[in-house]
């Protein structure tokens, strides 16, 4: 039997390949093939309706040329950048870190606090979107308007007046738990003896945080940044449910722009070109994180 004649190492290698095979096949079918097909589509005038749906033509780089002079595309990139920095890099990270640090301490109601922070992740994103619509709606009876009325602030249609700020707040609310879990894992890897030694040397809590905690969880922070940045760029569902990209493109993230081009204007070719560029941006960000910051993924 040839199988028996193989050395132990080669058998293990083959076993590993076999174990990996289903994942590789799934990746090929649902990630690599669609990505390659998107690149192909981006070079055509493929559409969902009209003559181009029946007989799509190869148009070379026309879609890309159009994209670079498309003000709405650049607007969506800017909106996405602000959204990612506001919600993932600042909002979720800061509040996630604060939660992780606070919940590391012995607290009486710790499991309850943990559950409260985790709850937003248990709500489906479209349901969360509609829930927030009712909270942020215009009129005096909307939840937020009633809360701010206590402080003498007049009611507003929050999604109309501060649309981008509102979706940043909602996404921060949704993402704190992920940040907290990852950062808690990073914090738990720091030995208590290091803090003990620092205390004996007379270090203040602030010094311990800035000189011990932060440097030691830096790899976790960067890993979190990588994951949250890329996943936030791809967010679609709850923002679409909340605002559909409006008002007037104020919350039109790149994902919503891709959807609008492909499935509202029905231009699959152009939508694919935008998607390819968005993919390139995501890859670029990933490379920056992984290479420049020397993160081990």
């Amino acid at each position: 039997m040839p199988w028996i004649q193989l050395s132990y190492e080669r058998r293990v290698a083959w076993q590993l390949r076999l174990i990996l095979l289903p994942s590789v096949l799934l990746l090929l079918a649902f990630v690599i093939y669609p990505a390659v097909y998107s690149i192909y589509l981006s070079l055509t005038n493929e559409a969902l309706t009209g003559a181009a749906a029946l007989k799509p033509r190869f148009v070379g780089t026309r879609n890309y040329a159009r994209l670079f002079s498309d003000a709405k595309f650049w607007n969506s990139l800017l909106v996405t950048l602000i959204f990612v920095i506001g919600s993932a890099v600042i909002g979720q990270f800061v509040l996630g870190l604060v939660s992780a640090v606070l919940l590391r301490r012995p607290l009486r109601w710790k499991p309850i606090f943990n559950s409260i922070i985790l709850l937003p992740n248990a709500v489906p994103e479209v349901v969360a979107g509609f829930m927030w619509i009712s909270m942020l709606a215009g009129g005096e009876r909307a939840t937020l308007s009633r809360i701010v009325a206590f402080f003498g602030i007049p009611a507003a249609d929050w999604l109309q007046t501060f649309p981008l700020t509102m979706i940043i707040i909602v996404n921060t609310w949704r993402g704190i738990a992920t940040a907290m879990i990852l950062l808690t894992a990073g914090l738990s890897a720091i030995s208590e003896e290091i803090y003990e030694a620092a205390r004996m040397d007379g270090a203040t809590p602030r010094q311990m945080f800035t000189r011990i905690t932060l440097p030691l969880i830096a790899p976790t922070i960067f890993l979190y940044m990588l994951v949250s940045t890329v996943s936030t760029i791809a967010i679609f569902g709850f923002v679409y449910a909340l605002t559909r990209g409006g008002p007037g493109g104020a919350t039109e993230l790149i994902s919503i722009y891709i959807y609008n081009q492909s499935f509202t204007a029905f231009q699959l070719g152009y939508g694919s070109a935008v998607a390819v560029v968005a993919l390139a941006f995501s890859l670029l960000i990933g490379v920056v994180y992984v290479r420049a910051l020397k993160v081990e993924v």
């Binding site: 559409a47 969902l48 309706t49 009209g50 003559a51 749906a53 029946l54 159009r66 215009g138 249609d157 999604l159 109309q160 909340l242 605002t243 559909r244 409006g246 008002p247 007037g248 499935f263 509202t264 204007a265 029905f266 231009q267």
Partner: protein, 430 residues
């Protein structure tokens, strides 16, 4: 071995039986619960008459999501056998994409054909001369106004004679009541409504009343288009129409379902369905005594003339790749029966395209719709052309720029022209 062989044969036989059973199932995509309710008796009739099973699938609302799902399925080759097209402006492009089966021969041989209003027959004919949709219902569009609010404020409710007259009336409403004077649907979020429920109304009475040229191209550089955008600009700049709600995700909800019933918006374009679905007996926020409280104006022309805009309301079509196209065509014509049309009128408020619906006792009970039905024959419309769905989106983008005060009328026209050229290519635009 023999057992395995028998099991295999049994499985193959079962599979064939299931496939055969599927061939006798007609899948109908319908839009919203009201539409499904209106179709109930028709579905039973189709099943009884043709011995088939009809599966009615509710597709998502609003219109844009409906169209997206429908087109994606049709492109993938697994669309429903029969479906309604929520906006007639999509029809020519769906024909160009090869999604719709021609039904001209069957329609002309159908006993209900002679009962159709001429305007319905004309609207159903595509640019290639063939008919692909059943014109079962009509949308008759006019301007609806709150007679009670205007009477109370001492404002004339007489028919405005020109666009200038109409704008002056809106200004008077604003000045005397403090409420918004006139709404034309606008912006990207309203979808096809910006074109179908707003832009078209004015265009038909403008200096250049048609977009389609004799050679099937689109003429988007006409003076009338700029003038129409000028009306929007004037309404927006003078704070005569509500702007913020139109920039939100469901822009029709606040103005149509809240502001108009509350008298905070005094006049708006709408179709006959507003008397039933938006503010009438099927509304969640009805206006009491709607027939008397809400009056209608025809749409005045730019300098003269009165226009009642007619359009096909969610016409029905057969998928060119239906499992059994001939059977689907027969089933389609059942949707054009008088009982189905009256049922749609009662639940949604569109107007039956058949003249003989007027004699139906159930339709006569719909007193709000009877006079509109009688006036349907005089409806005017835009000639359809391939590319209208791009024009519709272009109008939405142009009016959105006006709503955001980013451009003027000429700039809005440029946005429209540039968008349509980008999508369809320079050749499609004259």
């Amino acid at each position: 071995m023999r057992k395995a062989l028998l099991a295999g044969l049994w499985a193959a036989g079962l599979s064939m039986a299931v496939t055969a059973a599927h061939a006798e199932t007609i899948r109908i995509a319908n839009h919203g619960q009201a539409g499904i309710d209106a179709m109930k008796s028709t579905v039973a009739e189709i099943e009884k008459k043709y011995g088939v099973t009809v599966e009615v699938v509710e597709y998502p609302a609003p219109d844009k999501d409906y169209v997206t799902k429908l087109l994606t399925e049709l492109a993938a080759g697994n669309g429903p056998d029969i479906f309604s097209v929520p906006s007639a402006s999509y029809v020519a492009d769906m024909v160009a994409a090869g999604y719709l089966a021609p039904i001209g021969k069957e329609l002309k041989a159908w006993d209900g054909y002679n009962q159709l209003y001429d305007v319905a027959k004309e609207l159903a004919v595509s640019p290639d001369g063939e008919t692909y949709v059943l014109p079962s219902m009509l949308g008759i569009n006019q301007i609806y106004f709150r007679r009670d609010v205007m009477d109370k404020a001492g404002i004339s409710t007489e028919q405005p004679k020109t666009w200038a007259d109409l704008i002056d009336r809106a200004k008077e409403i604003r000045a005397k009541t403090g409420q918004y004077g006139l709404l034309f649907p606008a912006g990207v979020a309203w979808g096809g409504g910006a074109f179908e429920e707003g832009f078209q109304h004015l265009l038909v009475g403008s200096k250049t009343p048609q977009l389609a040229t004799a050679d099937g191209k689109l003429n988007l550089t006409g003076e009338g288009i700029k003038d129409v955008f000028g009306v929007y600009k004037e309404l927006i700049d003078n704070d005569l129409m509500p702007i913020q709600p139109l920039l939100g995700p469901e822009p029709w909800v606040i103005p149509k379902y809240e502001m108009f019933p509350a008298g905070k918006l005094v006049a708006t374009t709408c179709g006959s369905w507003c008397y039933i679905f938006d503010w009438g007996r099927e509304s969640k926020n009805p206006i009491p005594n709607v027939e008397k409280v809400v009056g209608t104006w025809t749409i005045p022309g730019q300098t003269s003339g009165q226009y009642v805009l007619a359009g096909l309301a969610a016409p029905w079509a057969v998928n060119s790749k239906a499992a059994n196209v001939e059977l689907a065509k027969k089933a389609l014509l059942e949707i054009g029966s008088v009982p189905t049309e009256v049922s749609y009128a009662a639940l949604i408020g569109n107007i039956p395209a058949r003249k003989d619906a007027a004699a139906d006792p159930d339709f006569q009970k719909l007193t709000e719709l009877v006079p509109i039905h009688a006036a349907a024959e005089n409806g005017v419309y835009l000639k359809q052309a391939a590319g209208f769905s791009a024009v519709s989106e272009g109008v939405a983008r142009a009016t959105e720029a006006l709503l955001r005060k980013e451009t003027d009328a000429a700039g809005a026209q440029k946005i429209l022209v540039d968008y349509v050229k980008e999508v369809l290519g320079d050749d499609a635009v004259q």
